[in-house]
C-alpha cells in the first residue's frame, strides 16, 4: 500500500476515533494498514491475553483487536508473534494454542492446538515453508505444515526449549533448561532431524536470524542459587554459523539480559533489568542503559527507524508502548494491554 493511501486511511481512522464519545476503541476497519502488533501477555491464569494494533501513520492504538474482530478471547499468556506469508502466528503459551491471524483483517483463520502440556513458546518458519514450534515443557519442537494446517510430529531437543529461529532451512533452538542448560540444538528443516547440539552460555533464551545462514543466540546467564548473586554467571551473545554448525563468535554482556532485536545499522538490542542495551556487532561495543527503564520486550521498525519498547508498569494493569527513535530519543508512550510482550510490524 502506498504511503498516501495509508495517510488517508489513517486520518479516516482518526476521525472515526474522534467521533467516539464513550472512550472505547474505535471500530476496526479491515483494510490492513501497516502497523505494529503488540501481543499483551495478560495476567497468568486470568485468560486475558490481548492483541493491540498500533498504526504509526495515524498514531492510533487499537486495543483488544482479537476479541473485537473474532468475538472470543485470545487465551492465557500471550508469548510471541511470528509473521509468515501474510499471517501472524500468535503463540498463546498457557492455552497451548497458536492463533493464526490474517494481518489485513485481524481475523483468526486457524487455531493450532499444541500437544497436551506442550507450553508452546515460539514459532519460526524455515525456508521450505514448514513451521517449527518450541515446546517449553515437553522438550520438543513440533513441526507445522501451514499448507494443511496440521502438525507433522515432534522432534526431541534439549531441556525446556524457548527461543527458536530459522536461518535458511537450519532451525536453531535455545535449550533454556530454565537456567540449567547451556546448549542450542540445530534442526535440519528439510529432514526434520536434529543435526547438532552446540554449547553456548548459560541459560540460552532467545535466537534471532541475522541472515540466511547466521543466527545470534542470547544467553541470559545462570542464576545458580537465586538468593546468592555471587554464584551467577553473566549473560552473553553467541553468533552461530548454521550451515557449518559452529559458534563463530561470542560476546560477554554481563548481568542477565533477555530478548533480542536488531536494526539495519548493524546493531542488536537486548534488555537488562535497568534498560535497553545496544550492541554494535562489528565493533562489539556495548552500550548499557542505552534507553534506561523497565522493559519487557523490544522490537525495531527498520522502515520508520523506530524502537518499540514494552513497558509492563507493575505487571498487573495495562502497560505502555514506548516509542523511541533509533538514537534512543523517546517520542511518545501509549496505553496498550496488560503486560505488553512480543511486538512485530505487520508489513
Amino acid at each position: 500500500m502506498n504511503r498516501i493511501a495509508v495517510f488517508i486511511l489513517g486520518w479516516m481512522l482518526v476521525l472515526t476515533a474522534c467521533s467516539e464519545d464513550n472512550g472505547t476503541n474505535p471500530p476496526i476497519t479491515p483494510t490492513g494498514p501497516r502497523g505494529l502488533y503488540i501481543l499483551n501477555e495478560g495476567n497468568f491464569q486470568r485468560g486475558n491475553a490481548t492483541l493491540s494494533f498500533f498504526i504509526p501513520d495515524s498514531n492510533i492504538v487499537y486495543n483488544d483487536v482479537f476479541q473485537s474482530v473474532n468475538a472470543r478471547p485470545l487465551g492465557d499468556v500471550g508469548n510471541s508473534i511470528t509473521l509468515h506469508d501474510g499471517r501472524a502466528y500468535l503463540v498463546i503459551n498457557n492455552s497451548h494454542t497458536i492463533e493464526v491471524v490474517d494481518v489485513n483483517t485481524h481475523v483468526a483463520v486457524r487455531t493450532i492446538a499444541s500437544p497436551p502440556g506442550a507450553s508452546p513458546r515460539e514459532i519460526t518458519f524455515a525456508a521450505n515453508g514448514l513451521g517449527f514450534i518450541s515446546n517449553l515443557l515437553t522438550n520438543s519442537v513440533s513441526v507445522y505444515d501451514p499448507s494443511t494446517g496440521t502438525l507433522l510430529g515432534d522432534i526431541a531437543v534439549g531441556a525446556n526449549p524457548d527461543g527458536i529461529a530459522a536461518a535458511g532451512n537450519g532451525v536453531v533452538v535455545a535449550n533454556s533448561g530454565f537456567g540449567t542448560n547451556n546448549t542450542v540444538t540445530i534442526i535440519d528443516g528439510v529432514t526434520r532431524t536434529t543435526v547438532a547440539t552446540l554449547t553456548v552460555g548459560d541459560y540460552p533464551t532467545a535466537v534471532h536470524a541475522l541472515n540466511e545462514s547466521v543466527v545470534a543466540v542470547l544467553c541470559t546467564g545462570g542464576y545458580g542459587d537465586y538468593n546468592d548473586p555471587n554464584d551467577d554467571t553473566p549473560g552473553g551473545l553467541y553468533i552461530i554459523d548454521v550451515p557449518s554448525r559452529t559458534v563463530v563468535d561470542s560476546l560477554g554482556l554481563g548481568g542477565h539480559p533477555t530478548r533480542l532485536a536488531r536494526d539495519r545499522d548493524g546493531y542488536v538490542y537486548t534488555i537488562h533489568s535497568s534498560g535497553v542495551t545496544r550492541i554494535h556487532l562489528a565493533s562489539k561495543s556495548v552500550t548499557r542503559d542505552f534507553i534506561p527503564g523497565n522493559f519487557y520486550n523490544i522490537a525495531i521498525d527498520p522502515v520508520d527507524r523506530r524502537i518499540y519498547l514494552a513497558n509492563p508498569l507493575d505487571w498487573v494493569q495495562a502497560g505502555r508502548l514506548e516509542i523511541h527513535t533509533l538514537d534512543g530519543t523517546k517520542i511518545q508512550a501509549r496505553d496498550v494491554g496488560i503486560i505488553p510482550n512480543a511486538m512485530v510490524m505487520t508489513k
Binding site: 486470568r46 533489568s273 498487573v316
Partner: protein
C-alpha cells in the same frame, strides 16, 4: 441421564418413608437457626452469650449442619455474612475461605482452638474437613489478634469437634460424578467418660460436564480419594474433664487447573496429615477454671505435575510440616460478675522442602488477657470487653540472616450496650491486628524476601441488633472498616521470579445484614452484605489499580437458608448463596457475572426397635447454574447425592 438414574430410588424411598416413620425424641425435632441462647467461646475467649458478644458472630450447630445441604466446612462458611469461599471446582478442589474480602490468609481457622493456618502459606483448605465430627462451627468477624495473634485480620472460624457417638453408626453415600462415601463409627459411654472412633472413605471422579467457549467438555483429572480415621474421647475426672481428639487423613486428588485448553493438565496433589490434641478443663475453685491444651500436627504435602519439566526432571515438590502447640489459661469470675481470662501460648512450626531455603523453624510465644466487665446503668446493661495480647515470634534459620524477631502488642476493646435488654442492643469494637509473613514469603528459594515486615491492621465494627422475641424476627446490622497497611503482595523483581514486598495499603469497608426468623416448624435465616475492599495507595502516578475493588471480592453477596420440619421425622432445607459480580483483574475490567447457587435437602429418619435410619437426599445446584467462583475453574451443574445412615442406639 444421571438424574434419571436417581429417580427410581428416590421415589421408592419417599413412598416407603411415611409408613415407616416413627416419632423421635422431643428435644431433637425442631430446627432453629436463631440460637438465642447459644454461647460462643470464640468471640471473647470467655463463654459469652451470642446475644451479648461484642463482635458479630454466628454459630452453626451440628443439628443444623446435618439438616442442610452442606458438603464440607467450606459450605458452612459460605452461608455466613461477610464470608466468601473461593472454590476451584467442586468436590475435592481447593476451597479457601475469606471474611470481609481480606483473603484466606487473613482468616484464622481453628480446630478446637488449635491454629490450622500453616506457617508455610497461612492458607487452610476448608473443603477437606468433614462435617461428621463437627459439634459446631463458630464464625466471628473482625480483627481478633488481641485474642488469637497472627492471621486473624478478617476474623476467625473455629471448628469445634464432637466426642459423642452412638454405639454403632454406618453411613453410605452415593451421588453424581462418581461420588461415593462410606463411614463406620463406634462409641461407648460410661460413668467415667466416652470414647469413639470412626473411619471414613470418600471418592469422586468429579468429572462434571461444562461449556468451554461453546465446546462441551468434561472436567478431567479431578478425581478425589480421601481416607481418614478420627478417634477421641472424654475422661470425666473429679473436678475436671480431659478430652482427646486425633485425626489422620490421606487425600489424593487431581488438580486440573484453570481451563485454557481441552486437556486440563495432569497435576496431582497428595496431602497426608495427623492432628492430635489433648485438652484439660478443670474447675480449680468455685469461680475459677483452669484450661490447658497440647496439640501436635504433622503432615506431608506432595505435588507432582508430569507436564512441568525442568530439563528432564518432572516437577515434584514435597513439603513436610510439623507443628507443636501448648497453651494454658485461667478463667476467673468475681462476685461482681466481672470475668477475665489470662493465659500463655506457645508453638513451634517447622517446614522442610526443596523449594524453601534455610529450613525455617518458627517459635512463637504469647500472653493474652480478655475481660468482660458488666456495668448496669438502670435498665441498660453495658458489657465492656478489653483484651490485650503480646506475641513474640522468632524464626530460626540456617545459612541465612534471620529476620528480626517480631514483638507485637495487639489491643482491642469491645462494647455491648443492651439498650432494651434481650431486645435491642448496640455493639462496637476496635482492634489492632497483625499478620506475620509466611515461610513462603520469607524463604521461598527463588524469590523469598527475608526483609518483609508484618502486616498491620486496624479493624472497627459497629452494629445494632434487634430481637423481637420468640416466634418473631431478629435482625442485625453491622458496619465494618478494616485498614491494612504494609500489605504483602508479590511483585516483579530484577530477575525472572517475583518477590513479595510490603507495598500495599488496603481498606475494606462494608455493611453486613442478618435476619433470622422462626415460626412454628419453619426457620429462616438470611444474610446480605455490601463491601468495598480496595487498594488505596498508588504505586506510581496514574496507577490504574488505585481505588479499584480487590479481585474476587463481590460488592454484593448474600445467603438464605430455609428449613422446614413439617413432621418430627422429616426436614426439608434449602441453602442459597448469591455471589455478586467479581472482578478478576486489578483494574476492574474483567469480571465474573453474579450467580445464584441453590441447594436442597430432604432428610428423613425412621426408628425401628433401636435401629435409627436416616436418609438424606441432596439436590445440589438445583437451578443448574453455570458459574465459576474463580475464573476459568468451572463448577458442577445440577446433581444429586443420596446418603443413608444407620445408627444403633
Amino acid at each position: 441421564m444421571i438424574l434419571r438414574y436417581f429417580y427410581f430410588p428416590i421415589i421408592a424411598m419417599l413412598a416407603i418413608l411415611p409408613a415407616a416413620a416413627q416419632p423421635r425424641e422431643a428435644h431433637d425435632d425442631t430446627l432453629s437457626f436463631v440460637l438465642r441462647d447459644a454461647v460462643t467461646v470464640t468471640a471473647t475467649r470467655l463463654p459469652t452469650a451470642l446475644r451479648d458478644a461484642p463482635a458479630p458472630a454466628e454459630i452453626f450447630d451440628a443439628r443444623t449442619i446435618r439438616a442442610l445441604p452442606l458438603r464440607s466446612i467450606s459450605d458452612v462458611i459460605a452461608l455466613s455474612a461477610g464470608a466468601a469461599v473461593r472454590d476451584y471446582g467442586g468436590t475435592g478442589s481447593l476451597q479457601l475461605a475469606s471474611l470481609r474480602g481480606l483473603g484466606a490468609e487473613y482468616t484464622l481457622v481453628l480446630l478446637d482452638g488449635m491454629r490450622l493456618n500453616s506457617a508455610q502459606n497461612s492458607l487452610v483448605d476448608v473443603g477437606q474437613f468433614t462435617l461428621r465430627n463437627v459439634d459446631r462451627v463458630e464464625i466471628v468477624r473482625g480483627g481478633l489478634a488481641s485474642l488469637y495473634g497472627s492471621n486473624a485480620l478478617g476474623g476467625v472460624v473455629n471448628i469445634v469437634t464432637t466426642r459423642e457417638r452412638p454405639p454403632l453408626t454406618a453411613d453410605l453415600g452415593y451421588g453424581a460424578f462418581g461420588w461415593k462415601q462410606a463411614a463406620l463409627g463406634s462409641g461407648i459411654a460410661g460413668r467415667r467418660g466416652r470414647l469413639f472412633a470412626e473411619a471414613r472413605y470418600e471418592e469422586s471422579d468429579n468429572d462434571f460436564s461444562f461449556d468451554w467457549n461453546g465446546t462441551p467438555l468434561r472436567r478431567a483429572n479431578s478425581t478425589l480419594l480421601r481416607r481418614s480415621i478420627t478417634a477421641g474421647g472424654t475422661l470425666l475426672l473429679a473436678r475436671s474433664v480431659l478430652t482427646l481428639h486425633a485425626d489422620v487423613m490421606d487425600v489424593d486428588m487431581g488438580t486440573p487447573g484453570a481451563v485454557f485448553s481441552a486437556t486440563q493438565g495432569r497435576a496431582r496433589q497428595r496431602d497426608r496429615h495427623a492432628i492430635v490434641s489433648v485438652q484439660l478443663d478443670a474447675q480449680a475453685a468455685p469461680r475459677t477454671r483452669l484450661r490447658a491444651a497440647l496439640g501436635a500436627r504433622g503432615g506431608r504435602q506432595e505435588f507432582t505435575d508430569p507436564d512441568y519439566r525442568i530439563g528432564n526432571t518432572t516437577l515434584r515438590s514435597v513439603y513436610d510440616l510439623t507443628q507443636l502447640s501448648a497453651s494454658t489459661s485461667v478463667e476467673h469470675a468475681t462476685v461482681s460478675e466481672i470475668r477475665a481470662i489470662a493465659g500463655i501460648e506457645g508453638s513451634v512450626d517447622r517446614l522442610d522442602g526443596a523449594g524453601i531455603a534455610a529450613h525455617p523453624t518458627r517459635v512463637q510465644a504469647a500472653a493474652f488477657t480478655s475481660t468482660d466487665i458488666p456495668v448496669r446503668i438502670r435498665a441498660i446493661a453495658l458489657h465492656i470487653y478489653p483484651a490485650l495480647r503480646y506475641d513474640m515470634i522468632h524464626d530460626a534459620v540456617t545459612d541465612t540472616e534471620p529476620p528480626d524477631d517480631l514483638h507485637a502488642l495487639s489491643p482491642s476493646i469491645g462494647l455491648h450496650l443492651g439498650v432494651l435488654p434481650g431486645r435491642l442492643a448496640l455493639r462496637g469494637r476496635i482492634a489492632r491486628t497483625f499478620g506475620m509473613p509466611t515461610f513462603n514469603q520469607l524463604y521461598w528459594r527463588e524469590g523469598g524476601n527475608p526483609a518483609l515486615r508484618p502486616e498491620y491492621s486496624t479493624a472497627i465494627d459497629a452494629g445494632i441488633a434487634f430481637d423481637a422475641g420468640t416466634g418473631r424476627p431478629a435482625v442485625e446490622l453491622t458496619w465494618f472498616h478494616h485498614d491494612i497497611s504494609d500489605k504483602i503482595v508479590w511483585t516483579p523483581s530484577a530477575g525472572i521470579y517475583w518477590t513479595p514486598r510490603n507495598v500495599q495499603h488496603v481498606i475494606s469497608t462494608g455493611v453486613e445484614a442478618q435476619a433470622r426468623f422462626d415460626w412454628q416448624w419453619l426457620a429462616l435465616r438470611a444474610s446480605a452484605q455490601w463491601m468495598r475492599a480496595r487498594k488505596v495507595n498508588a504505586a506510581f502516578a496514574g496507577d490504574a489499580t488505585q481505588d479499584k475493588q480487590l479481585i474476587y471480592v463481590p460488592a454484593w453477596s448474600g445467603a438464605l437458608t430455609l428449613a422446614a420440619a413439617p413432621a418430627e421425622w422429616l426436614t426439608v432445607t434449602l441453602a442459597a448463596r448469591l455471589l455478586g459480580t467479581r472482578f478478576y483483574d486489578e483494574t476492574n475490567t474483567a469480571a465474573l457475572p453474579a450467580h445464584l447457587v441453590t441447594d436442597l435437602a430432604v432428610r428423613a429418619t425412621t426408628t425401628l426397635t433401636g435401629l435409627e435410619t436416616t436418609w438424606k437426599l441432596e439436590l445440589l445446584n438445583a437451578l443448574d447454574a453455570a458459574y465459576e467462583v474463580v475464573a476459568f475453574y468451572p463448577m458442577p451443574g445440577r446433581h444429586l447425592r443420596l446418603s443413608v445412615g444407620t445408627t444403633i442406639r
